[in-house]
Symmetry: C2
Subunit: 206 residues, 2 copies
């Protein structure tokens, strides 16, 4: 019943969860794979295949119960209520991340921020303290933080990545437009706006 679940399926499952949360909020009780397909852009077969990896949960002729499906997907995909993160670099983007409303109300909690600008250190944004970056390993080790967010200029991204590693974190979201080199037991997600835009542009051209 519980088969090996691929990364792609998990990524789509997170989107199904997001969509189901919207449906639950608007009091929808049932939804079909076809409707989810229209809402998410994936094919209906793909969605059924994905969901079937988590067990038989739908009813033929009827569809899926929104609440039940959401809970099942969440149960498999997210074992914790909250994911704790630390932000490195409180510039324009870093500040926007600290204020990001999706985090504020959701599962992802940023509980410490680091910068090297003395004007910022000691301040707070959205209730998150900003500390000196060289205190990061010490401070982080006292917390449950698991993820580091790198939002510093690209000249500094590697040295900050090294600090993240020293701090014992297991995952990095790297917003800097530069690849970082880390031990391979540490998982990295790169979000490079320029590359996202250019790859979209390539898709448009063809």
């Amino acid at each position: 019943m519980v088969k090996k679940i691929s990364k792609k399926t998990i990524e789509r499952a997170l989107l199904y969860i997001r969509t189901l949360e919207g449906l639950v909020k608007s009091n929808r009780y049932l939804v079909s794979s076809g409707e989810l397909a229209k809402m998410t852009g994936f094919s209906d077969v793909q969605i059924r295949k994905d969901i079937s990896k988590f067990g038989k949960v739908g009813t033929p002729r009827i569809g899926y119960k929104t609440i039940e499906l959401r809970d099942i997907l969440e149960g498999f995909v997210l074992q914790q209520d909250s994911v704790y993160a630390a932000l490195f670099g409180v510039g324009n983007l870093g500040s926007a991340i600290l204020k990001y409303p999706g985090f504020h109300k959701g599962r992802i909690k940023i509980i410490a921020a680091f910068d090297k600008d003395l004007k910022k250190i000691g301040k707070k944004i959205n209730d998150v303290n900003i500390y000196s970056i060289d205190k990061a390993p010490k401070i982080i080790k006292r917390t449950k933080i698991e993820i580091g967010i790198i939002a510093v200029p690209k000249e500094f991204s590697q040295e900050v990545a090294d600090i993240v590693v020293l701090s014992g974190l297991k995952g990095i979201v790297n917003f800097s437009p530069m690849s970082i080199v880390v031990p391979k037991n540490i998982v990295v997600r790169d979000i490079d706006f320029t590359i996202e835009f250019l790859s979209l542009f390539c898709d448009i051209q063809r």
Copy 2:
């Protein structure tokens, strides 16, 4: 010689270009697929396979000329010098995008911003004018803008998507944590921070 180039190859090519630009800047003349592999995290075979889609450009025993390879990849992947975009929603994230240094100096030019907050309309951020959002179709049609960036709260993302479509744009980068429904000739790239974080977290757990 020029074979069908897959989306995945193009996405990696953009990363190779980014890496090569760094090498060129630091005056590196040659680079091997193995070195690129270490720098980007892909395998060396993968990199050679990708590059071979663009022709025979390397020299056995020597490697690739950084400048030449960059130019070849750029030539195939990006036919224009600049990509023009419009931003919708000048909140925390939107402002950070307007100030994003990678855009300022690079190929992506945001040349108009739209918001419905009267306090923002008429102002400028980083030399970009902020207009009333309902003037968007008219203003955009006078420009070469091809891409719309949605950075509004999720309650409004669909109505803004509709305006983007009305404006005749062909691509959307959607930063709002909600799927938008658009005609299928319009290409959408979703960047949902929450989903990126959660999917990283799933990877860490396994």
